[in-house]
Symmetry: C2
């Protein structure tokens, strides 16, 4: 491994310039901006380090870049990443051009640098360092680099089903990672699922004068009443029949992690201007609710007049966006059926449900060797004891890997930091963290060959 590390340290300038070149290629999936060009650029970079690469087209979507390097090793590591980025808007809040990849005070500032082009490049550069510095890779490597992560990985399942046979691996390193508010590398072994729907209530065929409200149905009231049947305000429990049937609490191994790594509760409350969390929860109970309780969240609601002052209008339509965060073993399609049945049973059969995004949860055994590999190597690189959590409260398409038998998906090899401003203007990473990130991947490849 020393040869790989030495090569990496001797070629930092090139690694940085290659990352900046990738950042200068816009790839905004939501705006269909630069997608094919970026996919081809990533494919070319992978080929340049020695991978066999395919650009796999998806029907109705952006292509997946699939790469393989067969090292003839007994073990195989798969890297999941994405080449698409969030839209850069609002542009006026950027201190530099979001696609110029400028460096200010030791930070590389660009859309996608933390999420997730920087991390993607640490993988490519680590593989290059092994091959150039050691002449070999200690494990076989596969790359699945999609172009739709920021829009819900809507077509990735096509690829996963078609390429299932060729994706066999002993572990999957997930795309994100970085340091928490206390500077500790954060590692997690799972994620929640999501069911994102819009409920639509309708009444008259036009907005009417609100003086008619005594006799004409108001869809905003219907929506409010339907919503109020979904959740108990006192217990914060979802009231959909059977909603909790498949929920699994933490295993003993998962619970040990909850106890070992408490949340930074006071920092969280202070930064959000809150006095307490829901129900006054603290400690393990708080973390267990955050990570193990499914949710039903109003992400947006709109009806009628919402401008300044008054308008006496009886709206024709009301809409709410609801996001259900799901935990193992809940499934998005099952929860959707239960939501429909609940609304019908409570007299809201007329409410339309528009499904905007279903993803299942995924959980890796936190005792899997890959977790330990990432933790131990992170400690070596950053000199700080990492935080390991059984899962995050967020959502990703890990379940697509679990579904085809790749049940060891671990997140936490990444170069973000607490102020990386992911999805926001002035997204950034420290240039030094990029170099450390490459070393982290070099060490992960080394250690995973030996566990």
């Amino acid at each position: 491994m020393e040869g790989a590390l030495a090569y990496s340290r001797a070629h930092r300038e090139e690694a940085l310039e290659d990352l900046r070149a990738l950042l200068r290629q816009p790839s905004v999936a939501a705006q269909n901006l630069g997608m094919q060009a970026c996919a081809e650029q990533v494919a070319a970079m992978l080929e340049a380090v020695g991978a066999r690469v395919e650009l796999v087209p998806l029907e109705g979507g952006f292509p997946v870049v699939f790469g393989e390097i067969d090292a003839g090793a007994p073990r195989t590591l798969l890297f999941y990443n994405h080449y698409d980025v969030q839209p850069p808007e609002p542009l006026e809040e950027w201190e530099v051009d979001p696609f110029a990849a400028e460096i200010r005070d030791g930070r590389l500032i660009a859309r996608g640098v933390a999420d997730n082009k920087g991390n993607l490049m640490t993988r490519i550069k680590a593989v290059e360092a092994w091959l150039q510095g050691e002449g070999r890779l200690p494990v076989n490597v596969k790359f699945v680099i999609e172009g739709e992560e920021e829009i819900g990985s809507v077509h990735l399942h096509q690829f996963m089903e078609r390429y299932a046979d060729r994706l066999a691996a002993d572990g999957v390193v997930w795309e994100s990672g970085g340091k928490d508010a206390r500077g500790r590398p954060a590692i997690s072994a799972g994620c929640k699922g999501i069911l994102y729907v819009e409920l639509v209530a309708r009444a008259a065929n036009q907005d009417l004068h609100s003086s008619l409200a005594a006799v004409v149905p108001n869809p905003a009231w219907r929506l409010v009443q339907a919503l109020s049947t979904l959740k108990d305000v006192t217990t914060d429990r979802v009231l959909i029949e059977g909603f909790y049937d498949a929920v699994r609490g933490p295993t003993p191994a998962e619970r040990r992690l909850l106890e070992q790594f408490p949340l930074e509760e006071d920092e969280m409350l202070a930064s959000w201007g809150l006095n307490e969390f829901i129900g006054g929860l603290r400690g393990v109970a708080l973390q267990e609710k955050l990570l193990y309780a499914p949710t039903c969240t109003i992400c947006g609601i709109v009806s009628g007049y919402t401008g300044p002052g008054t308008k006496t209008v009886l709206p024709r339509e009301a809409r709410v966006k609801l996001d259900f965060r799901l935990v193992p073993d809940q499934r998005a399609d099952d929860i959707l059926a239960k939501l429909r049945a609940h609304l019908d049973r409570h007299g809201f059969g007329d409410l339309e449900i528009v499904v905007l995004g279903p993803e299942d949860p995924a959980q890796t055994d936190p005792d899997h060797p890959l977790v330990g590999v990432i933790r131990d190597t992170a400690r070596e690189v950053y000199g700080v004891e990492p935080v390991v959590r059984p899962r995050t409260a967020g959502t990703g398409p890990m379940f697509l890997f679990h579904r085809i038998g790749l049940t060891a998906t671990v997140d936490g090899v990444g170069i973000g930091h607490h102020g990386s401003l992911v999805h926001a203007p002035n997204e950034n990473v420290f240039v030094d963290d990029y170099y450390r990130g490459i070393e982290h991947v070099i060490r992960v490849l080394d250690r995973f060959a030996r566990v």
Copy 2:
């Protein structure tokens, strides 16, 4: 009176040109456009026909044009009108310039022509016709012409309190009026009040990622839960304690009117694309609910992300605009206090209430002679049996007149029709209706002197 009618018929061209001149002067209160100029133009027109006129400034508002003509008669009639108009937007939907006062196919099309500059001019021209054609007025006449009706008459109370002594009259002719969908002149003797508020729920000091919803309070949920305590979905009753305490049902005279003039139910349902009214109501029960039941209406609600597709956001704030239509003897300030107490009692003391518009209801005895005068003269002018309703479901500042003892306020001397597009692009009246409207006022002045 024949001299007045003859004068009016001989001077139709001038009456039309004077109205067009008034329409060409924009007077959009909401946009502070042309207000002082329009007030001065109205004052000059009143002076030209022989009235003693004052332009009464209101602190923070637009002036009231107050006019008087003392005819030495035993009775006095007061005309309430307004010179302000709604904003003309959306401009692209007008077939003519909204301030050009063009005539197309017998219709005069202009912002404010139906609401309410046309009606205002029928009063001025009728007074002129009496004075020029008969040399006298049969009743004393007073004019209260405000400039803020379209923005809620927010400062009119200043004038009413300061001028209370000088407003003594035997009846008040309200501003609007016109023919219903079946071509019948519509007359009403009262209106509902209104309490328009915004409720605001807040939680964190910023929008957060919705994955935090398991532990961070969601103001949209709080608002929904608070709203659901306000109204019973099954009975459509408002659940605020004491809300109905002051509600008076129809008097025998009012009930007779409900029975005599049913609503055009089938036309209403068809034009709005509805199968039925709330609760399947029809007939007198339907009209009684429309006119005698107070309401609680969601006019607008907004929180979080409301654009296309998904955004997984936990909103920091949620707002709802609520309009309570009030009936005698409810009072806006009392209902506001009861709403606050209700929210506090149900655990929503943290919700802010922003008061955007309070107006009390007003009811005139439908047996008051002025009702009969307007009905009988309308029948003569239009050759159709008028519809008399005890009140409208809408709201106006009539209560300010009732509060100073002017309890005979009757609406229904106006030149609108079912397609007048009040508050909408291409607002219009038939030119012939304008001429008839002048004759209607001439006859009202004549008849009111003799009842």
